[in-house]
């Protein structure tokens, strides 16, 4: 099957139902003695991809965010990104992996159970299925790969309320939010019975064993919903609940180092190849497609953002180019292995002006203080990418199509309307789950230990007041 799958597969679907989500998806571990053996090439690629995603977080995201805040808060942002990631990694091993990637019994549509809590039963001999029948990778590698996704998603959120939330609240958030919001979201989108089951059972049976959003037939290659829309919505909820920064709209809050922001955005781009091409779980042509798309959509978006600034405001900016790059990366994430290269370019050209419009017009109209535009770039870009995935996957538009296991691995496309509807259902479910879950998490923290740093702490800067250090001594 592996060789056959080079042509069509990589991604599965069930015809008839017109669907299937897959991405860093996963299947039940196969423990039988006759289980397939992991390919060394696939395993090597996943090991590399895993550390590439870590590079996105530290130092990529940390520097991208850090450059955007005032110098008095630089160190706080670096600390937050680093420590949040560390906390989520430990939580992931304790109960996160189990909540995302095991059967949840009667709650299986929404969340997994605790059968693999503390990574019980996961060792060097267990494997998980990829998207091709008969192809597996070591489960322990999959645990590590998915761990970095949980970490970066949680770290992304803090950009919404940078420069004013107290560190203790952020630490509590990084335990509660993944538990209540991220792990269930990952389960809803990525949990399914796997290609072996799908090939040998009815479509209904496969859907019955899958998470809710997967069962819609929504396509999400690398986590547009789980990671970006989810983080963007949570950031908005957090930003609103914690309130605006003191002096917002009155005082200058210009980024203190666009140099570091550019370095961070570039590291994000490099790491994103692990994120997108790694989400293929196999080292093959689909990983190559995801890689090429991650270049092209990003490049197109990195042109479009400063180009629109040039047209509308007179000057193309570095922050615009960096923001465009990130918006392009976000938008291509769900489409990475589904769109064709030309589709990726179109997606990049579209996402930048829409995000620019959001962060410069809509945000100012609505008046919320999403410090680093997590909502405007990640949620908006993620939604555009998620919807566009349903269109660009069409083989008639150069897309890769959806692999149908029940039809022997043929690439199919259910048609624009049903696929876009499935995508929209996935997006809406994410918005509601993330919105309500984040409201509960931030609400709980606000009512208990409080969200916000004291006024004098915020004025002095979180660096000295909360951490007793400054980013720059000169």
């Amino acid at each position: 099957m592996k060789i056959e799958s080079l042509k069509k597969a990589g991604h599965a679907t069930l015809a008839g139902l017109g669907m299937l989500a897959l991405t860093a998806g996963m299947a039940w571990a196969q423990e039988a003695a006759a289980a397939p053996v992991p390919d060394k090439g696939d395993t090597a690629w996943m090991l590399v991809s895993t550390v590439l995603v870590l590079l996105m977080i530290v130092p990529g995201l940390a520097l991208f965010y850090g450059g955007l805040v005032r110098s008095k808060n630089m160190l706080s942002v670096l600390t937050q990104v680093l420590v949040v990631s560390c906390i989520v990694m430990v939580v992931w091993a304790l109960w996160g992996y189990s909540m995302a990637f095991t059967s949840g019994g009667s709650l299986d549509k929404f969340v997994g159970g605790f059968s693999k809590a503390l990574l019980k039963g996961v060792d060097t001999t267990t494997v998980v299925e990829t998207f091709s029948r008969g192809v597996v990778i070591p489960e322990i590698v999959f645990v590590a790969f998915q761990m970095t996704f949980a970490a970066i998603t949680t770290a992304l959120v803090i950009g919404g309320f940078a420069e004013r939330m107290k560190f203790s609240a952020i630490c509590l958030f990084s335990v509660l939010w993944p538990t209540l919001v991220y792990f269930p979201m990952a389960h809803m989108v990525w949990w399914w019975p796997g290609p072996e089951f799908a090939s040998t059972n009815t479509a209904d049976a496969t859907v019955a064993g899958a998470g809710m959003i997967w069962a819609y037939g929504a396509l999400d290659f690398a986590g547009g919903t789980v990671v970006h829309i989810n983080a963007g919505i949570a950031a908005l909820v957090g930003a609103i609940l914690v309130g605006k920064r003191i002096g917002y709209k009155h005082e200058a809050m210009a980024p203190h180092s666009l140099t570091l922001t550019m370095v961070g955005a570039s590291l994000l781009w490099v790491g994103w190849f692990g994120f997108n091409a790694g989400s293929n779980l196999e080292s093959n042509g689909y990983a190559g497609l995801a890689m090429l798309n991650t270049f092209l959509a990003t490049a197109a978006a990195g042109i479009a953002w400063p180009a629109f600034e040039w047209l509308l405001k007179g000057k193309p900016s570095l922050l615009g180019a960096a923001s465009g790059v990130v918006a392009g990366l976000v938008a291509i994430t769900p489409a990475a292995g589904f769109a064709g290269p030309m589709g990726a370019i179109v997606l990049g050209l579209i996402v930048s002006p829409l995000c620019l419009f959001f962060v410069s017009v809509v945000k100012n109209k609505l008046g919320y203080d999403d410090s680093l535009d997590v909502f405007g770039v990640h949620a908006v870009g993620g939604i555009i990418g998620a919807i566009a995935t349903g269109i660009l996957v069409d083989p008639a538009l150069g897309g890769a199509g959806i692999v149908d296991y029940t039809a022997g691995g043929a690439a199919v496309y259910p048609g624009l309307v049903p696929q876009v509807i499935a995508q929209a259902k996935g997006v809406l479910t994410t918005i509601v789950w993330s919105g309500v879950g984040s409201l509960i998490v931030f609400g709980l923290i606000k009512l208990t230990i409080g969200l916000r740093a004291k006024e004098e702490v915020e004025r002095e800067g979180l660096d000295i007041a909360e951490h007793g250090e400054r980013a720059y001594n000169m």
Binding site: A252, M253, A254, P255, E309, K313, K315, S317, L319, G320, S323, L356, V359, S360, V361, K363, N364, D373, G376
Partner: protein, 112 residues
Amino acid sequence: MKLITAIIKPFKLDEVRESLSALGVQGMTVTEVKGYGRQKGHTEIYRGAEYAVSFLPKLKIEVAVKSEMLDAVIDAITSKAKTGQIGDGKIFVTPLEQVVRIRTGETDGDAL
């Protein structure tokens, strides 16, 4: 003796320093400052946020000279710091009562 305080554009510093050295001026103090005059400021846009930057970076140079050198120093600064554009800066001259060289205890003219 006079203390000359000049606000100039930062990239003019080397030209000014060279011309003053050529006149025999023995020392100078330079400070990075911000301020505004007729040049006003400019607007910076970061994504959707626009900030009016009303204080622009300039250099403040301070030179103490004997009174007879005053005109030559003013001429040198004026000619070297000039671009003809708004924002070239200003020169302030104040009388100087006393100068002491810390190492030797020399005073006034000997200390300059």
